[in-house]
Amino acid sequence: MPVADAPLLQVDGIELAFGGIKALSGVSLAARRGEITAVIGPNGAGKTSLFNAISGFYKPQQGRVVFEGCDITRESPSRRAALGLARTFQNVALFRGMTVLDNIKLGGHTRLAANPLTAMWYLGAARREEIALRREIERDVIDLLEIDHVRHLPVAALSYGLQKRVELARALAMRPKLLMLDEPVAGMNREETEDMARFILDIQEERGISVLLIEHDMGLVMDIANHVSVLNFGQVIGEGTPAEVRANPEVVRAYLGSTVAAAVPA
């Protein structure tokens, strides 16, 4: 049994290298239950590498990823998803040939009990299960994210901001315990950004889902995050509440002094 106070996700001393290039050197951070945790840092700091190590695409050479008290460092990405880790990508990663609803339904997919053989009897239990999933998605996800009006459109027909919202909806349909968002407002205009901030807060407050997000938009991070970790050159250089991080001289240097001094390899 996990201790009540233990963080939902604990990353412990992750080392990740690609050949001679160290992407992460001894990164540790925690995402606490019911909180929004943000990871910030300049381009190339290792934020997305960290996400990929947490969701299982990269296998760190050292360190552990602990989720709900279980060491999942060696689990496959699909297994981690089943345990309650959901994520979105920096680029929109929707299935372009499908409609909005079909994309979202794929998120709830792995919770269905049907297997390759039983699903053939579509008229039986598999069908009832499918209908139940669809109801749940319409009630819990589509309404929350206000995408009712586009649910039958092919995703390719949507604006960028809406596509990002559909991706978020699909992650929510997985009923995750931890929602990982990789730059949820990148490339959005102010209005879209404000909408997204509201949705993320709704998800945290109404659904009680913990959130771990990577973001460049400092305004957004300072507004919604409970806790911030700052990465630079693959190391955690500061953490704390948004106010503490903003006052941390090391962080200020990494950001403000970075344009010339720390021209980071892409």
Binding site: P77, S78, A81, R87, F89, K105, H109, A114, P116, A119
Partner: protein, 297 residues
């Protein structure tokens, strides 16, 4: 009927036979399309799956004298097992390698299966029992052999079943998702390795059925494996990743083959489909229904 008048009945017969035999071509093409869509590989060993299926069936049905349906069930199970083994031992270790390496591996696989079958069953022509009713169908004065009609019905049923499966079943949707974007599919909790193994199993079973039907209409020898290579023209015409394309192209190629065989003789029949495909590809390089690749420079 005078010799100079055009024989419309013959044309109708050739056309009917051509379109109906196109069903079997489409079924074989389905085997290719499944694997290409699911894993991005053109499986040059598809014909060997057909051959293997036919030999398994021959062994169970003729040598062991098991009833047809039991023999069919055993054959499908055995081919599924072989396909899963091949996926696990040959294809999966090559994941992430250049496409050309994987293609070469499937060509090597084809040779190995071919040699293996030759070693076990010998190279001689074997007589398969006729599975499909031979009683011809007549519509007015047009007469079509029964086997051609029934093979079409069988192929159409299987293709329809697969289309519905991919459209509606949970596993089918997962397979489509894994095919279109494996990384995202993983994140959604879809076991991409499992769907890829399943793709090979399904394609192997489709190939086995096609092989059994072809062998029962002609005869069984290791040369059966070469039959599928002719179908390459079909899938390239239809677009490698389109089931609808495989169906339409199967019918077109069947029709062309039958008409040229009827009017120009058997030798020309082997060439004309390729020439037609070549011409169509000049106009539509991605096939009739294939995904259009847009290169940004």
């Amino acid at each position: 009927m005078s010799g100079s008048a055009f024989d419309w009945i013959a044309l109708a017969e050739y056309s009917a036979i051509g379109l109906l035999s196109g069903g079997l071509l489409a079924l074989i093409a389905l085997g290719f399309v499944l694997i290409y869509k699911g894993t991005g590989v053109i499986n040059f060993a598809m014909g060997e799956f057909m051959m293997l299926g036919a030999y398994f069936f021959y062994t169970a049905n003729v040598m062991w004298r098991l009833p047809t349906l039991v023999a069919l069930a055993i054959t499908l199970a055995a081919v599924a097992l072989v396909a899963a083994l091949i996926e696990r031992t040959v294809l999966r270790p090559l994941a992430g390698q250049p496409v050309i390496s994987v293609l070469m591996a499937t060509i090597g696989l084809a040779s190995a299966l071919h040699g293996g079958v030759d070693a076990v069953w010998g190279g001689a022509n074997l007589e398969m029992p006729a599975l499909l009713p031979r009683k011809p169908f007549t519509v007015g004065e047009i007469l079509v052999p029964g086997q051609v009609v029934w093979s079409f019905v069988l192929a159409a049923t299987i293709i329809t079943a697969f289309t519905l499966y991919f459209r509606f079943s949970k596993t089918g949707v997962a397979m489509r998702a894994a095919a279109s974007d494996p990384i995202t599919a993983y994140v959604l909790g879809i076991d991409v390795r499992r769907t890829q193994a399943l793709t090979w199993i399904f394609a192997g079973m489709v190939g086995a059925v096609a092989g059994i039907v072809v062998a029962s209409m002609t005869s069984l020898s290791p040369a059966l494996g070469g039959a599928a290579l002719g179908v390459l023209a079909v899938i390239i015409l239809g677009g490698l990743d389109s089931i609808a394309g495989a169906i339409v192209a199967g019918l077109i190629v069947g029709l062309i083959e039958s008409l040229t065989a009827g009017y120009l003789g058997g030798k020309v029949r082997d060439i004309v489909p390729y020439v037609t495909v070549l011409v169509i590809l000049l106009v539509r390089p991605y096939g009739l229904f294939g995904t259009r690749q847009i290169e940004r420079l």
